[in-house]
Amino acid sequence: MIETKHLRKEFGGKVAVEDLSLTIPRGRVTGLLGLNGAGKTTTIKILATLLRPTSGTVTVGGLDPGNTPHAVRRRINLIAGGERMVYARMTGRENLWYFGQLYDVPGKLLKTRIGELLELVGLTAAAGTRVEQYSRGMTQRLSIARGLINDPDYLLLDEPTLGLDAPIARDLRKVVAELAERGKGVLLTSHYLAEVEQLCEHVYVIGDGRHLAEGTPGELMAQTGCHRRVRITVSELTPEVEAAALAFDDRVRIAPQADEHGTGAVIELSHPGDVAGALTTAVIAAGGAPSGLEIAEPSLEDAILALSDRSVAVVA
């Protein structure tokens, strides 16, 4: 596994990562979340040997990247989304071959692997086309194949689906899950929290380079006290309905909504319990006529937002 202990990285006095201890075991997808500038990319680059920590330790499968960088590099790879990190004048196949040589993949094995990877990312038909003629999505798929060229034990994914078409992103998520099933250690950062929620068994949340929370997505939601959101739309907001809703719970928020009659409103409540039925009953009892009812389960996004709000409060 990859293990970091008390990782700290500063750039010219500015601290990017502080006292960060992570464990990325093989066989599962580990998530790394935070807001922009939280230190995710710095952390990933340290794990990828591109940056050296100011203090603290990193071990990759028991090896220290500081002492044996090449041995570590053979076992890891990095896929960063949204960047065109392949050579435009070469074909897709040539790009993979080139990186295969850099990773010293034996010739015969490389040939088979390139075929499989092209198949995997759906570029078999375009394998002989120069990358400059690829679409953005194709280029990115190629860079995903590139990240797998050395069949790494550990795969670091920095926003891998950024800018990908929805079906491709879905396929990629499937691949990531399968790679983990096959025993690879995957670290994933993503803006798409649904993606993290779906893939990651364990998630680290960082803010300002510090560890904020960790756990399964479910645990994180529980820790942050994220609530279900109930939204009831009524076509006419009478004073009675308003009073009844506020009497039900003083956290209820009511937003007038201009529909064709000009009298509608949305009654909204965030609550840890299952209150949708009771609130609706109260509204109807006061003479309200609900035209819509929505219940939103809490998401990882809510948890992250709550955590980062909290961390801002702590820092402030």
């Binding site: 010219g12 940056l51 990190m85 050579y87 094995l109």
Partner: protein
């Protein structure tokens, strides 16, 4: 998904055998040279910058210097220039050498784009010898770029009938005296320019001063002493001494021994400097996150 074929090379310890490391370096070399081939081959720019522009420069230089060569007493001052064809051949060797070496400046400038394109990080991510990459990149550029003008020069020498060679083996000496220092020079520039903040500036700086100080368009005896000293650290200067001595003046190995030793030493020093710059640049990148050294 299909299972990926086999395991890669067993993770292995850092202490691979020297043989393994050398074998890998050869693979990297081949791959990088092929990459250069793909990047450059068939580009219109090569035809212009390696054939048309040098030819035009040659014509201009010849006509500019012609009024000076056709003067009384030239045979005493510079015997070679007394014969217009030999003067042209002198300038052509200079242009050839300059094209050879400047193509590496150009390719180093292109290589520095890898930093901006993000592919440099990918190179640093891989367990490949960095020195092998920069050496191969220079070599690839050279083969791609200079063959055109080299063919032209051979044709011209044959037509002008000015070649005076002591021994057929000297052609090989000429070839190596151009190639080896040029590749070392290319590796040095690659490693320098990828970490340079203003690669365009270095590029400019190595254009005109290089032809001026290396004796591309003037015999070195025409240069003042300080300029000759400055020019001698450019490998192009030594290469031209060997090329002109062997092709135009019929000098043999014994006559050219010192320039050859100097060139070999200079090439070694350039490679060492390249390795040093790569190490320092990568270490700095790991420390500061910035792929810039200069």
């Amino acid at each position: 998904m299909n299972r990926l074929a086999g395991r890669g090379p067993a993770g292995g310890a850092e202490g691979r055998t020297a043989g393994d490391a050398a074998r890998h370096a050869v693979k990297v070399f081949r791959a990088e040279a092929l990459k250069q081939h793909r990047q450059i081959f068939g580009s219109k720019l090569v035809v212009f910058s390696m054939l048309i522009w040098p030819l035009l420069t040659l014509v201009q230089t010849y006509y500019t210097l012609h009024p000076l060569a056709a003067t009384p007493g030239i045979a005493a001052r510079w015997p070679l220039a007394a014969d217009p064809e030999r003067l042209l051949a002198f300038l052509a060797t200079g242009t050839l050498g300059f094209t050879f070496f400047f193509s590496l400046v150009q390719s180093a400038w292109h290589f520095s784009m890898e930093r901006q394109n993000g592919t440099l990080e990918l190179l640093f991510l891989a367990p490949a010898s960095r020195l092998a990459v920069v050496v191969a990149n220079g070599f690839g550029a050279l083969v791609q770029n200079a063959w055109l003008f080299a063919c032209f020069s051979v044709a011209m020498f044959t037509l002008l009938d000015v070649v005076n060679v002591a021994h057929p083996g000297m052609y090989a000496v000429v070839f190596l005296a151009m190639l080896v220092p040029a590749v070392a020079w290319g590796a040095f520039l690659n490693s320098l320019l990828i970490f340079s903040r203003d690669a365009a500036f270095l590029y400019t700086l190595l254009d005109d001063p290089m032809w001026f100080a290396s004796g591309v368009r003037l015999p070195t005896f025409a240069l003042p002493g300080w300029l000759r000293a400055a020019g001698s650290v450019l490998p192009l200067t030594g290469s031209l001494v060997v090329v002109r001595g062997a092709l135009l003046d019929g000098q043999g190995i014994a006559d050219l021994a010192w320039p050859l030793v100097w060139l070999a030493g200079l090439s070694g020093a350039l490679l060492l400097a390249a390795a040093g710059a790569l190490k320092a640049g990568e270490a700095r990148a790991q420390r500061t996150g910035q792929l810039r050294l200069f």
